[in-house]
Each structure stands twice: as C-alpha cells, then as structure tokens.
C-alpha cells in the first residue's frame, strides 16, 4: 500500500455571501496515494478549484484536517505555509500566470529564488526544466513572444523546477487549442510516469481527464466515484 501524499478528513469550506453561508466543500474525506495522476472533474461552481487551493495551502478549510506531504496544514502560520508551498507544491494555472516582464528562463527561475542554490545551480535547473518541456531554445523569450501552448509549457517548467512533492494543475488546458492541450497533457503524463510526480488536475474537459490514472467527480462539494 503506497502512503498517501494527500489526506483530507471531514473537510468543509463555506463562504459568507450577502449574509448567507454558501457551502462549497462538504465533509470531504479522501486520500491520494503518492505517484498518482488524479483528475478532478465537475461542473462550474462545484468547488474543484477550492479543493485544489485547499490542497495547495493557498486557502484554508472552514473545518476538517488537511495533511499534505506529511504536514498538517491547519497548524501552519502564513509564513510557514508559504515556505511549505515553495518546498512541496508546483502549481500550474489555467491562464499560465507568467510574469510579463521576465523572460521564460527568469519565470522558471522564480521558485528557485526561495532556495539556497547558487546562481550557477539555479541556471542549470532552469535549463533542465525548460529542455524537459521542449523549450530549451526559448529561454530568453518574453511571454508575449510565446504562443499559448508555449506559455503553458513554461508554466509547467516553473512548477517542476524546484522538484516539488506534488503538482497541482487548475484547468491547465482550459485556454489552449486541442493540439497544444494534448502536448501539455502528454507532458503531465510523462512527468507522472517517468519522474513519479503526484499530479492533481482539475478539469471539466473529459478528454483531458482521460489522460489521468484516476478520475473523481465533485458535485455540490461532495466527491463521487465515476458513474
């Protein structure tokens, strides 16, 4: 039995909107074994992104326990949580979220600015990550000089450059054409298969979800097995 890298116990999340409590996640409990490529599907407003954010430590549950990479997140302070994220989480955004004034290499280098690596070591890591995503020849390009697919590949390189425990991807193909989306999904599958990375991907695209080893549906804040 593989140890779970994520373990959620009775997790609830609710927001107050116009004086009314809106429940987004309801009493959610599940484990994700290390090395899994999991796709979470569900309609808009089902709480997929909230669940991903709770696992990433960028949002806190209203109640329940979240243990990721052996750390119970609800006990961490803001600063500890940031340091924990830097060490354990690689995040891929739907809209790539590259910093426009930095080159591809500098964008990928950002997470390494939080490490004690030397400039030379950082440079080596960046080159390796960009080659891995097939952009070794685009290091000096700014985001505006790249296509959407290339931007997302830089986003993936940024997510893996610090060798995090887990990669979380929020609709990583949502803004891409079919061909570029396939490239990204192939890349994620490769990272899972060849490097053993645990990947949790939120998507509403069934074709994207098919590339994962496991699919779960989130419906009104409750996680369900596939029909």
């Amino acid at each position: 039995m593989v140890d779970p890298v994520v373990s959620l116990q009775k997790v609830t999340k609710s927001y107050s909107r116009a004086g009314t409590d809106v429940s987004v996640l309801r009493d959610l409990s599940f484990d994700i074994p290390a090395g899994t490529f999991l796709a979470i599907m569900g309609p808009s407003g089902s709480g997929k992104s909230t669940l991903l954010n709770v696992m990433a430590g960028i949002d806190r549950p209203t109640s329940g326990s979240v243990v990721v990479a052996g750390t119970r997140l609800d006990g961490l302070s803001e600063g500890e949580m940031a340091r924990w994220r830097a060490r354990h989480i690689g995040y891929v955004f739907q809209t790539y979220n590259l910093i426009p004034v930095l080159t591809a290499a500098e964008n990928v280098e950002l997470p390494l600015a939080l490490t004690h690596l030397t400039r030379r070591e950082r440079s080596d890591h960046v080159r390796t990550a960009l080659r891995l995503v097939g952009l070794g020849d685009r290091m000096a390009h700014y985001p505006r000089q790249l296509s959407g697919g290339q931007e997302q590949r830089v986003g993936v390189a940024r997510a893996i450059v610090s060798d995090p425990t887990m990669i979380l991807a929020d609709e990583p193909t949502g803004n891409l054409d079919r061909e570029s989306a396939d490239d990204i999904l192939t890349l994620l599958a490769r990272l899972n298969r060849e490097l053993g990375k645990t990947i949790v991907m939120v998507t509403h695209d069934p074709r994207a979800a098919e590339r994962a080893q496991m699919i779960r549906y989130l419906e009104k804040g409750v996680l369900e097995m596939p029909p």
Partner: protein, 389 residues
Amino acid sequence: MLWSAYSLRNLWARRVTTLLTLLGLGLVVFVFVAILMLAHGLERTMGKTGDPANAIVMSKGALSEIESSLSREQTGVLAAQPEVITLADHQAAAVREIALQLTLRKQEGGSLASLSLRGSSPDAFAVRPLVRIAQGRLWQPGTTEVIVGTQVAKQFPEARLSETLRFGRREWTVVGIFEAEGSGFDSEVWGDAEQMMATFHRTLFSSMTVRLADPTVLPAFKARLERDPRFKVSVKREPEYYEGKAEGLARLIRVTGLFLTLVFSVGAILGATMTMSASVAHRTTEIGTLRTLGFTRSHILQAFLLESSLLGLAGGLLGVAGAALLNSVTISTVNWDTGAELAFAFHLTPTMVGEGLLFAAGMGIIGGLVPAARAAHIEIVHALGQRTV
C-alpha cells in the same frame, strides 16, 4: 538580481506614468540640492575670503568691521607684535583698513546695490597673497584711484576699467581689476585708506589684518591681545570672521529652502503613491501567482518597496543631474550680515549628491509604503480572482 530586474522592468513597462512621477520627484530633489548648493556656495565664498595665516583685529564688542574702530596708535603697536611676520622691506605684514559702503547701479537703468568699499594700502597684497591684479594696475597711494573685484566689474557697468565712480563728492577712477579666487573680496572696491578717511571725515581705522609668522600661534596671540587692557580688541582668524558673516543668510536660505522642499515633497510622495497604487492594482494576479509559488507577504512588501525606492532613486538622479547644471553658476545677492552685495557660485559636493539621492529614495519608499503594504496583504485567492468558487 532577479528582483532588481523584476522591479526595474516593471517601472519600464509603465514608462509614461513612471516618467511623470520621476519628473515630480526630480523637481523636488533639484530644489533640495540647489538650495544646499546655494547655501554651501555662499559659505564657501565667505570661507575662502581671507587667509588662515591671517588674524583680523577689531575693537572689542564689534561684530563687523563697519562697527569697529582702531586708532593710529593702536594699529602701530599691533603691527609691532612679535608674532607678525616681517616683509622683505623690514615692514610688518599688517594692513590697517577702513570699511565703508558704496551704492552703485547694477545695470543701465537697473536697481541700486550696496557694495563693500575697503580703504586699504598696497600692503594688503602682501598680507593676502591670493589676491592679484587681473587687469590694469594698483592704485597710486595718495590718489583717488580705486581697483574693483572681478564680480563688481562684471555686474556694475560704471565700475569697469577706466570708468569713473562718484562717491563722497569726489570722482574715483577705476585703474585696475583684481581677482581673489572667487572669494568675497571679488565683490569689493578697494582704494587708498588715507584718501577715503579724508573724504569721509574719519580719523579711525576699522580693522587691522596681520599675517602671522606661524598660524598655530593665533590662539596665544588672540589670548594675549584680548587680555591686554591697552588694546580693548577682539582677534579672529580671518577666514573664520568672513565665514561668520555668511551664517545668517546661509541659515535663511537653508530654512526657507528646506521648508519649500518639504512642502513640494508631499506632492511628489503622493505622486509616487498613486503610481505604485496603480501598479499594484494592475498586478494583482501577479502578486497572487508569486504568493502561490511560495513568496511570503514580506517578500511582496520588499519587492514593491524596492520598486518604489528605485523610482525615487531614478527621480533623484534626474534632480541631481539638473542641479549639477547649476554648478559654478554665479548669482549675486545682498548679504544680510553685511548689507553689501555679494556674488557667489552654486557649488555641488559629493555629500550633496548622496543626500539628494537618499532624500529621493526616502520619498520613493514613503510613497510606496501604503501600496506595498496593500499588495502584501491581498489574500491569494482574491488576488488570483478565484473567490467565485
């Protein structure tokens, strides 16, 4: 390195607003440095007036040469003091002088201005070796000839070489122009002391300046003369006396100027705040992304403060560069301490450059403080625009 590039490129990315903010900050720094240059130029000019080896002797209690009076007998005994150097002609290096004021018109049909008029003797050139005749010649003793400083010749058409000045119901011919290395003497008119005393019905000199064989003996020389009941005099090192004559005006320039700078700086700081606020608003998603990657609130605060301080520094460089253009520009104004016109030049020093840049960076940091704090406190999910579930 990465952060510096990030901050600089973000400023460049919004170059129009950055430039406008730079202009505001630069203007304040320009005023700030120009005021320091002006006050320093004044002090420097007066500080250069006189020679450290010289002592000026005035009557006890007199704050300036105009208020002082020394008798012929007193000056004779003072010149014979052993500390005073002896010249090649066996005369003591001492000059007794009378200080007066003269009113001349600045330009054709322009305003009237007071000038320092010094009745002296040719010995003044032996006592003050830095003063030299630049054009023409020295006055002939016993005549109504005068020589004028370079700044006087430049600003007063009627005091040019070979022109005639009218004062004390007599006519005085300008026979020479002297140069005193940019000191306060450059703004004076010199002539024969005996002729001026006769013209103005004076029997007493104003002061006596002596050149000491050893400048280090001045404290002992001063103590001995000031203690001696025969003299009733006060003794000062010559440059210190003239420097003291600039204190009031220099203080006024600094206080007024720095107050104005402070008022202007409020506007410049608000400009920096608006620029940085717009920058934060424009980069909310970027902030959320950085926080997601593991950067702390403190990192975000530092990044925006670095950016605003760079904005300030760039404005500072602009202001200092503008102020540097004023370096050596000469202006003329009334020295409140003497009531006479004094020409002096703006003077920039490395310390002023440092102070200007520090002031600019400070304005940038203060202006960036609120936007940077706001950037640091945005919730990640809000910054990423994901609160909609």
